[in-house]
Symmetry: C2
Subunit: 337 residues, 2 copies
């Protein structure tokens, strides 16, 4: 038999009355806290189930001054990379009783501020947020919150508390090394319109630095606005090669536009990787299965999520210097000779 629709939400007191056990003891049973006799325990659980009681965490959180939430603040969900990071986070949080709550900023610092304010107002046990660049107000809020704060994805900068990620500067530089090592010399770059995307900017900086150190200039760049897609990659690749037909390598700021470029170039009958080499960034496996595998860098998304979660959960200690730098890994693919 289904209990009828309640007019008033159920409270501990209802369970207490139904079971003839004090509220306090009901509370203990429902949280598996303290010693309760098996008999009492059974009575309480039966009553709670019969009523369909769901504890009120609002009240519980207020009374205990603790809330089992971890705020996770990321720029976007449609980016392919963040679902992986989230996967790592929730896998690692799973056995801790902590729950991730996700907020999305759409790469806007003002929006990030709002999202942080909203999340902090729930008094979470920790914060994981993408990037090291935040507004003054955001930093102030995080510092004042008095909880673990882990900035993820990037380690090129000054963390508020702890940073877990890769050095994008280094990822760019290492890719330059592989490209130069393969003998390419007329190199172009295709990426999102910068200011908001700090990590892409740092990769490009590292990339250019390493090229420069070898005396090779970056011959051309093509920027775009808005989301990444195969179609964007096609269009930009066509455009940059129209402008600079002599290019023999294209470094893309992500795999998706890189794959678009790859598809377009193959359609044009361009010899890849002979005449033209290509590389992307991220190492998304969604694209496995294309006719040719794009060279790229594994950005260690899953590991970043895991390590960040471990620190927030107190499974790992915060490192002295507050920085956990993972190694970006070059994935050769078929598009570098």
């Amino acid at each position: 038999m289904t209990p009828s629709r309640p007019r008033r939400p159920l409270t501990l007191r209802d369970v207490s009355m139904a079971s003839g056990v004090s509220e306090m003891t009901v509370s203990r049973v429902l949280r598996n806290r303290g010693d309760v006799s098996p008999a009492t325990r059974e009575k309480v659980l039966t009553a709670a189930r019969a009523l369909g009681y769901v504890p009120n965490k609002i009240a519980g959180g207020l009374a205990s001054q603790r809330v089992n939430l971890v705020a996770v603040v990321i720029p976007s969900l449609s980016n392919l990379v963040f679902p992986d990071v989230l996967g790592g986070i929730s896998a690692e949080l799973d056995d801790t009783g902590l729950q991730p709550v996700v907020g999305v900023t759409h790469y806007g610092p003002a929006r990030e501020e709002t999202v942080l304010y909203d999340m902090l107002s729930w008094r979470p046990s920790g914060v994981i947020l993408a990037g090291l660049e935040h507004s003054r107000a955001s930093r102030a809020m995080l510092e004042a919150a008095g909880i673990p704060v882990v900035e993820i994805m990037d380690v090129d900068g000054d963390p508020i508390d702890t940073a877990v990620g890769i050095s994008h500067e280094r990822a760019g530089a290492e890719m330059a090394g592989h490209i130069l090592g393969a003998g390419y010399r007329r190199i172009g770059f295709i990426g999102t319109h910068m200011p908001e995307d700090h990590r892409a900017r740092k990769r490009l900086a590292g990339f250019e630095r390493a090229l420069g150190a070898a005396g090779v200039p970056l011959v051309a760049r093509e920027y775009y606005q808005g989301g990444s897609s195969l179609a964007k990659g096609r269009e930009l690749t066509e455009r940059i090669l129209a402008r600079e037909p002599g290019l023999d390598f294209l470094y893309y700021s992500n795999d998706l536009i890189g794959a678009g470029g790859l598809i377009w170039a193959r359609e044009q009958g361009i010899d890849i990787p002979g005449k033209l080499g290509l590389a992307g960034f991220n190492g998304v496996d969604l694209l496995d299965g294309l006719p040719m595998r794009l060279a790229t860098t594994d950005a260690r998304r899953l590991d970043i999520g895991r390590r960040a979660a471990r620190i927030v959960a107190g499974k790992d200690p915060r490192p002295e210097d507050g920085i956990v730098a993972l190694a970006p890994t070059f994935l050769p693919g078929d598009t570098i000779r």
Copy 2:
């Protein structure tokens, strides 16, 4: 100057003392509620900002018995379709003061139960969840919650409260109509291993029903486990055609495996859409830019998110029969002749 790290979290009282205004009035200012003189208002805001005060929603929610959260429960984030749904939801919630909170079930009914229990314990103002199939206990919880519950994606079934989605039965049947209309007769199906994916199952049922009505049998099916990817699509397509070389059409349960099949078939030099036609499902735009555009059905993800959110937010009334059926839309592409 930065305020020093607080030992004790700030409360309204701190703002009250710092500004010389009563707690109640501070509360009013911070919520823009009731009439407050501009002068008082200014005093309060200045003090709050100087201290770096962030209101405590736990306490607020308990006192007001209202919480501006909407629980959104979906099977997966890596599915490409759910980020779109979420986009629709948060776009529509944006000006309502309501905040979506996302929970992920990984297609497990038991996991769904846990997630729902956890979310309901925060006493959200409404619930949006994917699908019409839930455990007995989940249904009971939702019915007992006394808040708007919108089940999304699917309308083939009995909603707990309200359903917003497309009829997958109809989507399958309509696709069959287009395929038959184009003259294909030896048709195969490729999809995920069923039980957990009710919507794919319903599409297939509608598809077969419509084929059957035309006296055309479904010649072959190929199921797979685990996530979708281009690689999976290649592999399954190769396998089904090895088994049934005479097939002239393949209907895939999603665009990603369909695209994998498309890429593989082109590599084999198969004449598409002449010798072999292909269609997927969802209408994900991530894949725009492939050499050939896969025929598919737009599952109306964004609209579903928007309509669901409007109902939860009270912008739209709940329809009498509790069902908002959107029309799945055929997108022809280049893979049906």
